[in-house]
């Protein structure tokens, strides 16, 4: 799969680029869907909740805001195996989040993804490689976060035993904010216009016939957004600023360069071959510049279904 048409516009900070890139992802999906011979359709749904203890990504305790949300997501996907070692997956995805306190974070997201996976041989334990490209439009209730999102990843992995598999990969992400709301002349008002690159590793281990534990670690270098009250140090380090009324009339979202190190653990209980109950806990530490470091923790509970 040629990813160039998707990655190239991702480097241009223009809204239209996001829409074009999304079309590059969605177009082959529609074309492939028109060829149903031996295609495998699947439908996924996730329902649950999350709690993030630092939604503002703030350092100072006075600026830290945590909240919980109900989440609901659904996907309709298409899988085709052009050969015994290759697989193409396309999906249309809808995701929603509804927060208890900070309604500006309420989200409806519509997008699609395309993936190609190759196994280097025959058998469960041969190495594999995959490339995945996804695009989505995120419509937040708070306008400054609304925009288009693009992500691409390259991953290689191997099953080390019947119940243990592991993979490593690289990814790039890009968000195109739809609304420019400058508060300082000469400084961009699109703090959520973001780009970043990351490396990640993940592993899953089956403890029993039904219980699986998974772990994912990643390091991302790129733009991050910290929302705080007016802060001179952050102001001087940031290159985009906008008012962020989601957290209060005196809060501002600052875009900074930073490195985020993240670790997630997931415990997944298979209820059947088509459903599971999942608990996860993640910690992300971001170092934005010399004086700004913040920590956020995310806990989720999800019921997952696949038909």
């Amino acid at each position: 799969m040629n990813v160039q048409p998707i990655l190239r516009p991702a480097c241009r900070p223009r809204d239209a680029a996001g829409a074009r890139a999304a079309a590059w992802v969605l177009l082959p999906m529609l074309l492939c869907a028109a060829r149903p011979a031996y295609a495998e359709w699947f439908y996924d749904a996730h329902a649950g909740g999350l709690y993030d203890d630092n939604l503002t990504r703030a350092q100072q305790a006075a600026d830290v805001r945590g909240d919980g949300a109900a989440t609901l997501a659904a996907s309709a996907g298409w899988f085709h195996a052009p050969s015994g070692t290759d697989g193409i997956t396309l999906s249309l995805d809808v995701n929603s989040e509804a927060y208890a306190r900070f309604h500006g974070l309420n989200l409806i997201s519509v997008g699609g993804s395309a993936g190609y996976r190759h196994k280097f041989g025959l058998g469960r334990d041969v190495p594999w490689a995959s490339i995945t490209v996804s695009a989505a439009h995120d419509d937040f209730r708070g306008d400054i976060r609304t925009g288009d999102r693009l992500e691409a990843s390259l991953e290689v992995g191997k099953r080390l035993s019947e119940n243990f598999d592991a993979s490593v990969g690289i990814a790039t992400d890009r968000r195109f904010a739809s609304n420019d709301q400058p508060v300082v002349p000469g400084i961009s008002g699109k703090p959520f216009d973001l780009r970043g690159h990351s490396v990640f590793a993940r592993a899953a281990y089956g403890l029993t016939e039904r219980l699986q534990v998974g772990a994912r670690v990643s390091v991302r270098r790129g733009d991050v957004v910290s929302t705080t009250r007016q802060n001179l140090d952050i102001f001087l380090a940031s290159d985009a600023i906008a008012a962020d009324p989601t957290f209060g009339s005196d809060f501002y979202a600052y875009r900074l360069r930073g490195t985020t190190t993240e670790a997630h653990a997931t415990l997944s209980w298979a209820l059947s071959d088509r459903s599971s109950l999942n608990l996860s806990y993640g910690v992300a530490r971001t170092a934005a510049y010399d004086d700004l470091n913040y920590l956020s923790r995310l806990g989720t509970i999800l019921l997952a279904f696949r038909y």
Partner: protein
């Protein structure tokens, strides 16, 4: 007429005499729970085997699973692998008893696969990694597979002494440890019980894993 009737009765009686010996097996795990899909095999202790005519066996693929999951066949049996899913499968085995590959296909393959070496053959699909199936290729025509209640009957046994053993995909230790000597001579039915220690079934997981990606 009477002579014919007498001959017919004699034939029936003789057949009944041959068919009246059977081994009734009951297999449970170490918690006393019945074990389904255990293969019970009886091999004449004197080694004398008369193999019956081979018939084709069928291992289906339905809803992206091998059906049945465990099969017992006689050595030399041709097996057909029809695919009743609306997606293609790529069936393979690396087992020493039979290495083969049916490249990506739909429908019914043109040629069956002949299993000509006794042993256990583990089946997989290169598209759907969670698919796993087992074929127990028996050197003896006297075998049976336990039902959900853990019971199986090996019928139509000639009166002899047999070495009887049990195999299961999750059996801990080899099947040689399950060997029993069973003499059915002069007995219509012999009951034999096994208690097996089974390993957990840690196959590739099929059910979805739910993950939520955080924001940065």
């Amino acid at each position: 007429m009477r002579t014919l009737l007498a001959l017919a009765l004699s034939a029936l009686t003789g057949h009944a005499a041959l068919a009246q010996h059977e081994i009734a097996a009951a297999v449970v795990d170490d918690k006393g729970k019945p074990v389904a899909d255990a293969v019970v095999v009886a091999v004449p202790a004197d080694g004398g085997l008369r193999l019956p005519t081979r018939r084709d066996a069928v291992i289906d693929q339905v809803d992206k699973e091998f059906t049945p999951k465990v099969n017992a066949i006689l050595v030399g049996t041709p097996v057909i692998f029809p695919n009743h899913d609306n997606v293609r499968h790529h069936v393979y085995s690396f087992s020493p008893a039979k290495r083969f590959e049916l490249p990506l296909y739909a429908g019914v393959p043109a040629q069956p696969v002949v299993f000509d070496t006794p042993g256990v053959v583990v089946l997989g699909c290169n598209i759907h990694d969670w698919m796993v199936g087992y074929i127990y290729v028996s050197e003896s025509p006297y075998f049976a597979k336990t039902r959900a209640d853990g019971k199986a009957v090996i019928a139509d046994l000639p009166p002899r002494n047999y070495v009887v053993r049990v195999w299961h995909p999750q059996l801990e230790g080899g099947e040689a440890a399950t060997k029993r000597s069973v003499d059915v001579t002069g007995k219509r039915r012999v009951d034999v019980e096994w208690t097996l220690k089974l390993k957990p079934e840690l196959r590739v997981r099929r059910s979805p894993v739910g993950e939520h990606s955080g924001h940065y």
